[in-house]
Amino acid sequence: MTAGSVSKRSMQKIQNYLMAYAFIAVPVLSFVVFLLIPMVVSFWWSLNDYNGLQPAKFVGLQNYIELFTKDKNFINALRNTTSFVLLGMGIGPTLGLLTAILLNQKVRFLSIFRTAYYLPVMTSLVVVSTIWVMLYNQNGLFNTLLGSLGFEAVGWLSDPKIALVSVAIASIWQGFGFETVIFLAALQSIPREQYEAAMIDGASGVQQFFYITLPALRPVLAFVYIYGIIGSYQIFDQVFVMTSGGPMQSTSTIVYFLFGKFQDLRLGYASAIAYVLFAILVIFSFIAFKMEKE
């Protein structure tokens, strides 16, 4: 082998590397400029008193301390968001699993039923919100139907005790079809023979569910709950459109609260909120990672 062919080959190699780097250049650049740098800047701002107009003033952990010790509205938003997550995660995946089990019974017209559950999933949350605002109206469909059954009208979005639940109901309606589809796909991948063998051994339907179905669904269950929790903690659109955080801040959530601070130009403070949210999500992601590893 001559020296010329070696250098030719290494030239070729370098050229291939450059080509590969060119292929990933736009995503990497986009990652650095639109994600990495803003992320670092955001963290720096969270340690500063900064309004975007005057120069930032370093205050250490002051923003975080204020959030957790002085800001009742933030604690309220944190509590509301957690209630929302618990409500949604308590009901949504259960509904998803129930409907998936129904659809898994060799149903005819499967795709029609599945479409009915799934349609709201691809609908924008703004659309979902405007529809439910109409349904929840004091004179809207729900109250009219309740009235015809002899019940009193409910202040779905005007009663501070109920508003958050109303937002959660609309969100569950919007989202559980996603879980239906995922659970259905998982159920369909469980081998039929397992059930047949169990039936020969005389296992009841309930026993089959707890000893075959649930264990087989475990990884998917972990996925659904963890990603559901992470998504729900970021709730914003519904609150923005349906309630603006009211009445009496009863539906104010973390991201909605952050949005308000951003509009008030408390950029350092808003950044601190973002990092608190990030910390919450990291904890759940870590749990997800642990569970998926098992």
Binding site: F23, P27, P38, S42, L102, A116, D237
Partner: protein, 279 residues
């Protein structure tokens, strides 16, 4: 015994279908009510007993949404932003995914790992500085702010990489021996084979962009740049707007996605389950 089983079987089937039909109808009622309300005269929107069928039906709300509010413009904005963004994802995500899946270069796995870490960062964390960057560049209230930060996505790269890994290397080598450049291999061999994956990518990106709210709401204040969800939220927030009008806007915002879904149902379902069921 043998004659009893069919009876129980049919009873079970009856209950099953009854539950499915009733629950499906319950799911559809809010949509139906939105469409029906959008075709009502405003004074009948909240009539008691409720008007299940618009009487008389009217297109007044749709007319006023296009004439008194600029919904046509929002619609075009949404289409433009979603189409360009989706094209960007198809090209950049697939190309990068190809490099990560099939090419060797120094730092490949490390770079990919760092990108994956970025998946964990919620958008709210970089939101505010990102807004400032847009403002500094003078991009707020332009299409640039709506499109450029979203031209590629880590999730898209990740998904396409999984997909491209299943393409046999022999095919690529055959292309190289035939004298294709690396880009030629990508364009002539990989991209056509990746079409099913690309279909999923198109759907997920288009849906995400079409339905996106927080970012477009933040970077546009001029009505001329509103996308449908932003325009619709604005319409909802105005005290002067009437319910039939809001529902006309709602239907116009939701309908394109629903039509796309009905035509590409299989890819939708596959795309949605891909992330969850991949080991």
């Amino acid at each position: 015994m043998k004659t009893q089983k069919p009876f129980r079987f049919y009873l079970g089937r009856f209950v099953l279908y009854a539950v499915l039909v009733v629950s499906s109808i319950t799911m559809i009622i809010p949509f139906y009510w939105a469409v029906s309300t959008s075709l009502k005269m405003e004074q009948f929107v909240f009539s008691n007993p409720p008007q299940w069928f618009p009487n008389p039906p009217t297109l007044q709300a749709y007319l006023s949404v296009f004439t008194r509010i600029n919904f046509g413009k929002y619609f075009l904005n949404s289409v433009f932003v979603a189409v360009i963004t989706t094209l960007g994802h198809v090209f950049f995500d697939t190309l990068a995914a190809y490099a990560f899946a099939k090419l060797t270069f120094p730092g490949r796995d490390k770079i990919f790992f760092v990108l994956l870490l970025g998946l964990m960062v919620p958008f709210q964390v970089n939101l505010i500085p990102l807004y400032r960057i847009m403002a500094t560049l003078g991009w707020t209230n332009t299409y640039l702010a709506l499109i450029v930060p979203n031209l590629t996505s880590i999730f898209g790269i990740f998904m396409m990489r999984q997909f491209l890994k299943s393409i046999p290397n022999d095919l690529l080598d055959a292309g190289r021996i035939d004298g294709c450049s690396e880009f030629g291999v990508f364009w002539r061999i990989v991209a056509p084979l990746a079409l099913p994956g690309i279909a999923t990518l198109i759907i997920l990106t288009f849906m995400g962009t079409w339905n996106d709210f927080l970012w477009p709401r933040l970077v546009t204040s001029s009505e001329a740049l509103f996308t449908l969800p932003v325009g619709l939220a604005q319409l909802q927030a105005k005290n002067t707007s009437n319910v039939a009008q809001i529902m006309a806007g709602t239907v116009l915002t939701a309908l394109p996605m629903i039509i796309v879904f009905l035509f590409m149902q299989r890819q939708f379902i596959e795309g949605m389950t891909a992330g969850a069921l991949k080991e």
